[in-house]
């Protein structure tokens, strides 16, 4: 059937997301800074949505941070990725679910390279066979984990215990969404809504009762910049770019920042602390910071999960202002407790209006 007009225009912004049977690949950054988010994602898929998602303990880093800081050659990362595909093929899966945005961009870049340059694909098949004896099929569907939560956002809403609504005023909470650059800036057709109108987080926020805040620097990079953060003397680049975003969003008084990339929430969280230390400036209300959440954490809060089970105590910028606005029932005394409920020790909380 011939598509016409608006339908034709918006066709480019749609994305097919597999609805079950995923092969899960973890993120180096997310599991270091937000390990509870990965656990939350798996819990939601397995127990709330009854989906099959498989993790092979033999999968490794995609080596993406090494690649984008240029110490890992293109042929090497292609072959590391081919090995992940081989593990997926051997396990009988065809749908890849990717935790990391850097990895997601890399999987797409490599698959597209193989389409454009078939000789590269044959070269990499040879490298993998020689190095490991393995063979692989290219995934039929590559979804970022946020795509999957987006796909099932209405199912999550059906089970919601809390909404993105201020319990005191009844008004929708104002949320800033920040999309990781490598989600769709490189390959717009691989992201929901493309690079211009990414809808993956907007869809979640709106379905769960919140209001999306538009602001001038909405699409600006968080400032990771790979080597611009990894090397201490370059970090001015990173904090400056985050600061540019904070200054731009501040007038709109956001209640929270929502991210789909593992790195962005860490930077947007930590740089608020650094800016307060350097300049005495905070960007939230009442001298506090703006809570920064992963989409898994936000989905978990909506579902009524314990914020400390999800690792929200690992944020430097306090999340309590958001929890209180949502009316979430949590125990502040157990924030820094271990698995058995014994207090591990309390960080010297000196930033972002933290007590």
């Amino acid at each position: 059937m011939k598509l016409e007009g608006k339908k034709q225009v918006w066709k480019d912004y749609q994305k097919e997301i597999a609805d079950d049977h995923y092969f899960y690949v973890r993120s180096c950054i997310r599991q270091n800074f937000f390990p509870g988010s990965e656990q939350t994602f798996l819990k939601i898929l397995r127990t709330e949505l009854n989906k099959d998602i498989y993790e092979n303990p033999h999968h490794t880093t995609c080596s993406g941070i090494g690649y984008h800081s240029d110490v890992v050659p293109f042929e090497t990362i292609q072959t590391v990725v081919a090995r992940q595909f081989a593990l997926m093929t051997e396990a009988g899966y065809k749908n890849l679910a990717v935790s990391c945005i850097t990895s997601f961009g890399i999987y797409n870049e490599i698959i597209e390279t193989w389409k454009e340059f078939p000789a590269e694909l044959e070269k990499i098949r040879g490298f993998l066979k020689k190095a490991t004896g393995r063979e692989f099929e290219i995934p039929e569907n590559v979804a970022h984990a946020s795509d999957i939560v987006y796909k099932f956002r209405e199912d999550i809403l059906q089970k919601a215990k809390y909404k993105l609504v201020n319990k005191n005023t009844g008004q929708p909470l104002k949320i800033v969404e920040h999309i990781g650059c490598h989600y769709s800036k490189m390959f717009p057709s691989k992201g929901v809504g493309g690079a211009e109108f990414p809808h993956v987080l907007v869809g979640m926020i709106e379905s769960w009762g919140g209001e999306v805040i538009d602001y001038p620097e909405r699409r600006h990079c968080c400032g990771f910049g790979f080597r611009q953060y990894l090397v201490m003397s370059n970090r001015g680049y990173s904090v400056s770019n985050s600061r540019k975003k904070f200054e731009s969003m501040e007038p709109y008084k956001p209640d929270a920042i929502l991210c789909n990339c593992p790195g962005c929430p860490m930077f947007l969280d930590r740089w608020q602390y650094v800016i307060e230390e350097m300049e005495g400036k905070t960007y939230g209300q009442n001298g506090q910071g703006i809570p920064v959440l992963t989409y898994e954490e936000m989905a978990g809060l909506v579902l009524g999960y314990n914020p400390w089970d999800m690792g929200m105590q690992m944020h430097q910028t306090n999340v309590e202002p958001l929890l209180d606005k949502m009316g979430i029932d949590y125990n502040p005394e157990l924030k820094y407790a271990d698995k058995a409920g014994k207090i591990i020790g309390t960080p010297a909380m000196i930033g972002c209006g933290c007590e």
Binding site: T61, R83, L230, R270, Q313, K339
Partner: protein, 235 residues
Amino acid sequence: MELYQELTKDVRFEEGLKSCMNCGVCTAICPAAEFYDYDPRLIAGIVQSKDEKRIEELLKSDTIWYCGECMSCKTRCPRGNTPGLIIMALRSLSQELGYFAESEKGRQQLAIKRVIGENIVNKGYCVLPESLVPELHPEQGPVGEWIYENKEEVFARVGANYNGEGEGALRKIPQESIDEIKKIFEVTGGYERFEKIEHFSKLKAKEMGYSENGDNYSEYINHIFTTNNGKHNRQ
């Protein structure tokens, strides 16, 4: 060696440079151009000119190390160019030829190789909790320090499998898988890149008056990790 010809062997260069009309949209959108004295439009112009002398200067300069590889330029270029991909090809060639050691920013590659590169081939991850030493990462704040000092309890609390067998966040990657990653690095030129970074860095370290001192140039590493001459930014 003809530098331009070498660049064309990299598929990322072929993909990244089609025909630049120097409109400057990439520079307008570039986070690095706002912070550093950097202009991706000029990068495309220089490589497109095929001027060997200017390309060599670029390969030896700080300039090519300013990009953050966010790839925002890819989205906006009206001609389908990607200066970020051109940069990646230039950085690869710069390391191949040892030219990276001629600039302050380029020399940082050794520090990145020693941490991220070694993590990948020895542990199967780019980043490890043990790498987040508070003195080197003050931006991680008091919470980061708390996590670092209580890794086992904190990670167990949030359901991670830190250094454990089987699946889960931060699990120990099985040795047979690490061995496969090592073999991949051997077969595909990954180790060769590492060796070139080490080789040319050590030559430069000696030239700058650093010695091995029995600790594999740790004083030089500290120097390249922390030095900023203050002349990189847009004035």
